[in-house]
Subunit: 193 residues, 2 copies
């Protein structure tokens, strides 16, 4: 192939290829502003798990302790690793699962069973301008698209006051806490760090 045609081909290549591979859309809103269930969140980045934590909206001090797993979309995770902050369109899933103690060869402790609740948090300063740029959602067992929780929901004030980085509980995410500390993005008022 002559050089000039090679060059033309490379020009076309540059036009056809984005500078970086496009990120797969990780969530979407329906026409009536409901968040569609992010069905692939188990393939996102795992931030941490806890058990029986009482700060959560679904905690039941009289019920058996449950596990919680937290996931974030991969591009937001990579942004946080670089900057210690969350980009717009960051989305977090808090998955609550029952704790099981009897099963197979396990003779003590607990492992995870069925999902009992799914909560989602999205950062979008324009869409959620009325709630400081963050929107909370709860999904039912049918995983129907969910409307944003009203600004009176307790999660808004609690995350704003107690989240170590922005509205998020980075103090409970052991791989992110040292990053936020190094990038100096921890709120000075946040407890526990």
């Amino acid at each position: 192939m002559p050089h000039h045609r090679h060059f033309a081909a490379l020009l076309l290549l540059a036009q056809l290829l984005p500078a970086q591979p496009p990120a797969a859309p990780h969530f979407e809103f329906t026409a009536n502003q409901r968040l569609a269930f992010p069905g692939n969140y188990r393939e996102w980045i795992f931030l941490s798990a806890g058990r029986g934590m009482t700060y959560g909206p679904t905690a039941d001090p009289h019920g058996p302790p449950q596990f919680d797993n937290v996931f974030v979309n991969p591009s937001a995770y990579r942004h946080f690793v670089k900057t210690g902050r969350w980009p717009e369109q960051a989305i977090f899933v808090l998955e609550i699962r029952e704790a099981k103690s009897e099963g197979s060869i396990n003779k003590g402790g607990e492992f995870q069973g069925a999902v009992t609740a799914i909560e989602v948090l999205v950062k979008d300063p324009k869409r959620f301008a009325a709630t400081s740029g963050w929107g909370f959602f709860e999904f039912d067992k049918k995983q129907q698209p969910a409307a944003q929780l009203p600004k009176t929901a307790t999660c808004y004030a609690c995350h704003a006051q107690n989240g170590a980085v922005e509205h998020t509980f980075v103090q409970f995410y052991p791989t992110l806490l040292p990053i936020a500390s190094a990038k100096n993005t921890l709120k000075s008022a946040a407890p526990g760090h």
Copy 2:
């Protein structure tokens, strides 16, 4: 651009682009057959977490209960979702973390602290022919490349006998267990499923 040059450009494009993006290598062995520490495992697929489980090699019935998190490389995960079996070169990381109960606004339950142990399992029928195709590794705190654990280590017999799918404890991974059940890949002798 004339059609024939457009076509030539597309031919070049086809030559330059692989059919699928090449998978990033997810682990490697050193020249002396030691497994290099898989430093990016926290970006792999999370399978589940437990707490205080006593079946593990690092369990201490007299020490405080710890959390365990299990991760698998993404391409092996996708293979399992399709087939209910693990491909060659599947690699699993079992990360043990201390459980913390006092911190920030958490008034009960436990969240995860520092890593206390890292165990790795690799499926490679050729490399590990002497141990049924599976190799176990433990990493020290310096994350130096690790030699395969000897075949006398208890993990080999325990995983072979008790793993619900091949050498893995799918019975404790709530998103994989229904897949293995549907694909009929659960061992008939495996307990607890």
